[in-house]
Symmetry: C2
Subunit: 241 residues, 2 copies
DNA sequence: TAGTGGTCTAGACCACAAC
DNA sequence: TTGTGGTCTAGACCACTAG
């Protein structure tokens, strides 16, 4: 069951995306929205706060909420999005090839990244992402088997995240994300169409569940010329010192 | 004047950072905090929500708020942070060299990026960032002169953002951020100690003020081996479709 | 002055976790 | 059963914007 605030968020976001509310125009005032949706002010404000966080609107004291031009950043790879979710937004054919699907004993590096012991079982999943016929991305995932007991090649070809959320009902909550550039390994060179690029751009993720337990470490290794990361950032409590 | 919620956020964040509240332990419950700070539940919840957004805590229904291990991601370059703010967190000497400070008529590219006409004045600021004796980052900034009428070499050497916020009282609010890899230009090669790297990692930013007006376009061009971007991301309304 | 969003309060009911 | 966070309500006062 969706909350009232979430339903209002969805309705307003849809109206911004389909052009009912145009960029640089104003949203109805909070008191207008209260009448329109028949809820209290707190509920309206919760929905508006979510829209603000996601870059849909800017709220101005004394004036109102104005609609931002969301088309200007049309590929938000921000936050936690699976490759399937991203590829749906892209046109052009994308294909996933599963190179490896094994249960391994973690080496020292994986033990430290995934916070497991040497005798714990860990899934290692290696997948190549092919975009318009070129092998562009090499995804290497490690899952703590304590949380993901079972995996198949079919699941990995489709979408692991969809399986985890819809079948296992794991609730993915947050991640620590790091982007660096490193020399391509032999594995990169073998699996990707790197051409002359001696480097790969790596997005490293530590992914946590709702109860703050670490369940996945993943490296997404990209051919540099095709790499793009887009983000919407608000100046927040942290950088305000 | 700080709000009550912001003051409580600051106090709790400080206590998490100095170890009074340890990672994986629980914060006092909302009702405890109500008594402790003598405020209403809404105010406490606003502070806890900010802590959650910034990766300090994870809130669990029926249990409480547990403290996350913030040391695990000790260099959050997330959001909107100036080079001076970042370099303060780093040890090791950092130095800024101002290569260029001019008012220019924007070319087509800058006109489109900064949303100005061909006759509008635009500041062009080019700065090299030297870290431990090596020229690692080339920052190229364009400011709409409508918002920034006056700039000096001293301001650019110190911190433009500090000047904008403290002297001009401009309120920087949000940015659209993009990270890509491109071939190094002649300007990159001349200004940076690139060694054999034929590429640079570029962080492109469109920066907006509180009233949603675009006032700055900036490119931060990094030597690949020294580039690092760290982020804390929550799975949010957007990626939940 | 009227309208807007920002902050804060007090109270209610719910779902979930732990005992 | 008790305590926790999640949602929602109704009302108040404030600061800022605009006419």
């Amino acid at each position: 069951m969706k909350t009232k605030a979430q339903a209002i968020y969805d309705a307003l976001a849809a109206n911004i995306q389909n052009g009912t509310y145009k960029p640089n125009s104003k949203l109805p005032s909070e008191y207008d929205l209260i009448e329109q949706y028949g809820v209290s002010r707190g509920t309206i404000r919760q929905a508006l706060e979510m829209l603000s966080q996601d870059g849909y609107i800017q709220r101005l004291k004394g004036k109102g909420s104005i609609v931002l031009d969301i088309r200007k950043y049309n590929f938000p790879v921000t936050g936690l999005v699976s490759f399937k979710e991203v590829s749906k937004m892209m046109h052009g054919d994308v294909r996933t090839i599963v190179n490896e699907l094994t249960v391994v004993q973690p080496d020292d590096f994986i033990q430290s990244q995934l916070d497991v012991g040497p005798t714990d079982d860990v899934w290692r999943v290696v997948r190549t992402r092919e975009i318009q016929g070129e092998k562009i991305i090499l995804d290497i995932d490690y899952f703590d088997r304590k949380y993901v007991p079972f995996l198949t090649k079919e699941i990995c070809t489709d979408s692991i995240y969809e399986y985890l959320e819809n079948e296992l009902h794991l609730s993915i909550s947050f991640a620590k994300k790091e982007i660096v550039v490193e020399s391509a390994t032999d594995e990169d060179k073998a699996a990707l169409d790197l051409g002359d690029f001696p480097y790969v751009v790596i997005v490293k993720n530590h992914v946590y569940l709702e109860d703050a337990s670490l369940f996945e470490y993943t490296e997404s290794r990209h051919r540099p010329d095709k790499f793009q990361f887009v983000d919407f950032a608000r100046r927040n409590h942290l950088n305000k010192k």
